[in-house]
Amino acid sequence: MSTLRACYQLALANGRVTATDRKGRLIICVGYLLGMWLLYWLWRGLYLNDPSRAGLDFATALTHVATAQTLFAIITTPADWRLAREIRSGEVASQLTQPMNLALRHGAMALGAVAAKALYMLPAFALFLWWAGLNLAPSSWPLALASLACSFVLLYCLAFIVGLAGFLATDLWGIIASKDAVVQFLGGALIPLAFFPPTAQTLLHVLPFAHFFNTPVAYLTGQLHGLESLLIQASWALAFMLFAHLASQQVQRKLVVFGA
């Protein structure tokens, strides 16, 4: 109970820090809408001479990509940057003198940041959908929301593990940029996985990649109905949590041994 209360306080605090920067919020929303506008014209150009590509029409493909890009903007948190910075600056030492698991602490803070970003970015997303004449039609909101939660866990755990690399490397820009590129491309955030060869699609669905963005977007757009994909996604989320926990234990042991 006290751990939950601590998580709530941390999430609330980081949510407030994320949401209180009014100018930053405005700039992000304007930049986001500009990006969506460019995405619209890019995909419109792709579909100019062909009403159907990879079995998807223009509206379906654009809805998929726009939703995936929005999810990327909202549920991808800078937990990797923050953790790496705290390790390098030694600030992590102060956190280790507090009775809370490091992964849980950063997870709660990431959740707060995601909730805050959702508050100001979802209206912009709704505005874009209205302007482009698109709409989300999930066959089941509970499944879609569960898939979104799993997606957050996957992305957060990955960011946390990458952030722990701050203990080994000074500059994590390359590692984080590579991670974001792989997650977006193989996760179906840049182009729907339907555009990939069938074998690659199967492989990406079995592996965790499709479950970063493609699975939640498919639930949100009504392309997925059953539980099967969600179960695979949830299994990967559990595996990632376990892996993040083990990595955290290992690094903390090293931190404890070599000093903060």
Binding site: S2, R5, A6, Y8, Q9, L10, A13, R16, V17, T20, G90, E91, A93, S94, L96, T97, Q98, P99, M100, N101, L255, V256, V257, F258, G259, A260
Partner: protein, 335 residues
């Protein structure tokens, strides 16, 4: 003993770079290491309610010792026990019983008001509301926390922030508080306020305090006992009064005379007590000893026209400075 350190050692290993390409490649597979002993065979015990200063020059091993005591650094060998816990093994349970202030780090939220940072810490340490209010009241009453209670931490002055850091470390009514350079960079008024608060909590609540500081005022005003560490080794463990007596060149009487100082020196040197006598500028100094009480000294020096006489004691700062200097000379000679 609430804190018990036995034969603590901490060795840092760092890889030695190869001189040639071949050697560098070989060391990728079989690295060679150089070892630095940051803390060497340190043992001490601290009883509940004590306020102890851990002092020493830069790089002496103070912070390493504090890190080992707080559980964020494992000793290479030796044993630590604080409040019945092994700080490294039981870290998550243990940290609920301690408070820590690292002068260069913050446990507060930069962008949030002070009160929100404290609420987060209350939740993290699961502090009951009554305890939270009780601990806070002292700092609100004596420390003037209310003046900036609603201001974001980033807008506070260094002194105000340190006051918050110290209040935060006492928030969960810990058994022990480790203060690593808590008054660094503070002005005189804020230092005095901080010391008074720490002293009050140590005295009234019986909270054990271990403080490291380069500020002699912190040591003199707060601690009853001194742990002096140099080159990773514990060089002195005892009361402040004992340190004053045993360190430096002792206590002297200094007399300014109108008459022949050499003759006076010869007279004093011939005294049966056999005390040390020396010239120091215009002053003639004789070691203070009960075998030569002041009335007798005055009687002896009366023929030499005493203009002035005063006791001479080295300040704690001078004593510590002399101690550190001796350590450096010793280390150079050993090298």
């Amino acid at each position: 003993m609430l804190i018990q350190a036995e034969a603590l050692n901490r060795v840092y290993r760092s890889p030695l770079p190869g001189q040639s390409w071949g050697e560098r490649f070989a060391r990728l597979i079989r690295p060679k290491w150089s070892e630095t002993h940051s803390v060497r065979d340190v043992s001490f015990g601290i009883a509940r309610g004590e306020c102890v200063a851990l002092v020493g020059p830069n790089g002496a091993g103070k912070s390493t010792t504090i890190k080992m005591l707080t559980g964020i650094l494992a000793p290479s060998s030796g044993r630590v026990s604080v409040a019945g816990f092994d700080p490294q093994r039981d870290r998550r349970a243990y940290v609920k019983h301690i408070g820590v202030v690292f002068g260069q780090r913050s446990q507060l939220w930069w962008d949030l008001p002070v009160q929100d940072s404290f609420r987060i810490l209350q939740a993290l340490f699961a502090v009951p509301e009554a305890t939270y209010q009780q601990q806070l009241n002292l700092f609100r009453r004596e420390g003037g926390l209310d003046e900036f209670w609603l201001r974001p931490v980033r807008t506070l002055s260094l002194g105000q922030r340190m006051l918050c850091e110290i209040a935060a470390s006492f928030l969960h009514a810990p058994e022990v508080v480790f203060l690593d350079e808590p008054t660094i960079g503070l002005d005189l008024e804020m230092k005095a306020r901080m010391r008074e608060l720490i002293r009050q909590i140590n005295r009234d609540a019986g909270t054990t305090v271990l403080i490291t500081s380069h500020d002699v005022g912190d040591i003199e005003k707060l601690s009853q006992r001194l742990l002096l560490i140099d080159h990773g080794q514990l060089k002195f463990d005892g009361s402040l009064a004992h340190f004053r007596q045993s360190a430096g060149d002792g206590h002297w009487w200094a007399a300014k005379l109108g008459g022949d100082r050499d003759a006076a020196q010869a007279l004093l040197a011939g005294h049966p007590a056999g005390l040390a006598v020396r010239h120091n500028g215009d002053w003639l100094e004789v070691a203070r000893d009960e075998r030569l009480p002041l009335p007798e000294l005055l009687q002896l020096l009366a023929p030499f026209a005493i203009h002035d006489i005063k006791p001479v004691e080295q300040s704690l700062e001078d004593l510590l400075h002399g101690f550190y200097l001796a350590g450096k000379v010793g280390a150079r000679e050993a090298a």
